[in-house]
């Protein structure tokens, strides 16, 4: 107790000074919109730097987990490669099999990217990725997590950065299908919960059930990309279609590493669609 009193005696001038100084600075900082804006910009810059450092540290400590997932992915790909090789061997030097696995038949190319910034609390959220036009990124490419979960698609890009419209954007819309019965739907975000999207225009014959998995069905992405699982479903008033609430598979709040998916045939599909529209 005696030591504590001594300590307080030693530092009380400094404490009083700091309290008075903070009060004076606060009074000055909030006295006009100019000072408020200046202080805000400074604190944002400082906050951004600190946040960036913390993210980097967090990224460093999450490396073991990422390594584990990468290893699992490598194992998965190796298995796939083995099975394809086995298929080729089994069919001898079959020209059909060779064509099937020819590089020219590869439709999708994957570009790894990292999230630079993102929002999840607005009606029109965006994600900025650290890959841009110089890396071969262009609008309309799909974006997924390394676990094959839907994130969104690229809407614009500069030389070094790309802006993604995530599923958590009220302007977002893509096709989907229920994995169990192949019934298609439209996926969109009503702007309510950041954990849920909705599937609309589900056929009355689709018989949706809770827990059913919904995948993306879009020319931007390959099959097997998960949107999420059905939580609730209702029949519309006209009893002509179901709409379902889907729990998003990707954890949008902790996105870090993503894959940008390029459909090498997208230009061809787009041209074809344009021709159909013009006819």
């Amino acid at each position: 107790m005696h030591r504590l009193i001594e300590f307080i005696k030693r530092i009380y001038v400094l404490v009083v000074f700091l309290l008075l100084e903070v009060a004076a600075l606060w009074s000055y900082a909030t006295s006009s919109s100019y000072t408020e804006a200046k202080i805000l910009s400074r604190t944002t810059a400082i906050g951004g730097t600190i946040s960036g450092t913390i993210t980097d540290i967090g990224h460093f400590f999450s490396l073991p987990e990422k390594n584990r997932r990468l290893t699992a992915r490598i194992a998965e790909l190796s298995e796939e490669l083995d099975s394809r090789e086995a298929y080729i061997l089994a069919s001898g030097i079959d020209s059909t099999a060779m064509v099937m696995y020819d590089d020219s038949e590869q439709h999708f190319r994957y570009h790894p990217a990292r999230v630079v910034s993102m929002t999840t609390n607005r009606k029109r959220n965006n994600i900025v990725l650290d890959r841009g036009a110089v890396d071969g990124i262009s609008p309309d490419m799909g974006v997924i997590t390394p676990d094959n979960e839907l994130v969104g698609y690229v809407v614009s890009c500069s030389e070094h950065y790309a802006v993604v419209m995530p599923v958590l954007n009220i302007d977002f819309s893509t096709g989907g299908r229920i994995v169990e019965n192949d019934h298609v739907c439209v996926i969109r975000w009503p702007g309510a919960s950041r954990y849920e999207v909705e599937a609309v225009e589900l056929s009355i014959y689709s018989e949706p059930k809770s827990g059913m998995e919904v995948e993306v069905r879009s020319e931007r992405l390959p099959s097997g990309i998960t949107v999420g699982t059905i939580e609730e479903y209702v029949l519309n008033n006209a009893k002509s279609a179901y709409s379902a609430t889907i729990r998003i598979a990707a954890n949008m709040a902790t996105l870090d590493n993503v894959l940008i998916v390029e459909n090498l045939h997208y230009g061809e599909i787009e041209e074809l669609m344009r021709q159909v529209d013009n006819e």
């Binding site: 001038v13 000074f17 100084e21 606060w26 009074s27 006009s32 200046k38």
Partner: protein
């Protein structure tokens, strides 16, 4: 008692000069002298820091209320109260000793006194103009304002310092 009254009149005179004369001057954007920090600089070095801090608080509030500083004057005057002894030691290598019989300010040579006052004014002006600008976009203009205003403040303040030390402190 006489000395304390003298300090009060000095403070009042400096505040009046600052508000009604120096603050009304518009010589140039980068030439804005301020001599009211002398109130803190010339307080007896023997005073405890907490009392100097309280004086700085009162003077700062008066200046803020008179000139619409909204805390700017207080925020830039308070640090002077805290760093005063350290600046005195750094510029003159002198400090208050327990057995001193005469005030420290009266024992300092005029050249050293000028360096001390100049350093204190420079610190105040640097804090004031930096906080006022809140930007380094026009860095050279800011530096010029700090340096030129400090020099002009010192030129104006020096006769007051000499007079006060010779007539009151000694």
């Amino acid at each position: 008692m006489f000395k304390n009254t003298s300090y009060f009149w000095l403070a009042l005179a400096l505040i009046v000069v600052e508000i009604f004369i120096l603050d009304q001057l518009s010589i140039a954007m980068w030439l804005r002298p301020m001599i009211f920090p002398l109130i803190i600089i010339l307080l007896p070095m023997e005073w405890r820091t907490i009392w100097v801090l309280m004086v700085a608080l009162v003077v700062g509030i008066v200046m803020d209320m008179s000139l619409g500083g909204a805390g700017l004057y207080t925020a830039t005057l308070l640090p002077l109260a805290v760093v005063r002894s350290s600046v005195m030691y750094l510029t003159t290598r002198r400090g208050v000793e327990p057995g001193d019989q005469t005030p420290l300010l009266s024992r300092i040579a005029m050249r050293q006194m000028m360096i001390f006052v100049g350093a204190m004014l420079l610190i105040h002006h640097a804090l004031f103009f930096s906080l006022e600008a809140m930007s380094v976009a026009l860095l050279w203009q800011l530096v010029a304002t700090i340096v030129m205003s400090t020099l002009l403040s010192l030129v104006i303040a020096w006769p007051i310092v000499r007079l006060f030390i010779s007539k009151i402190v000694r």
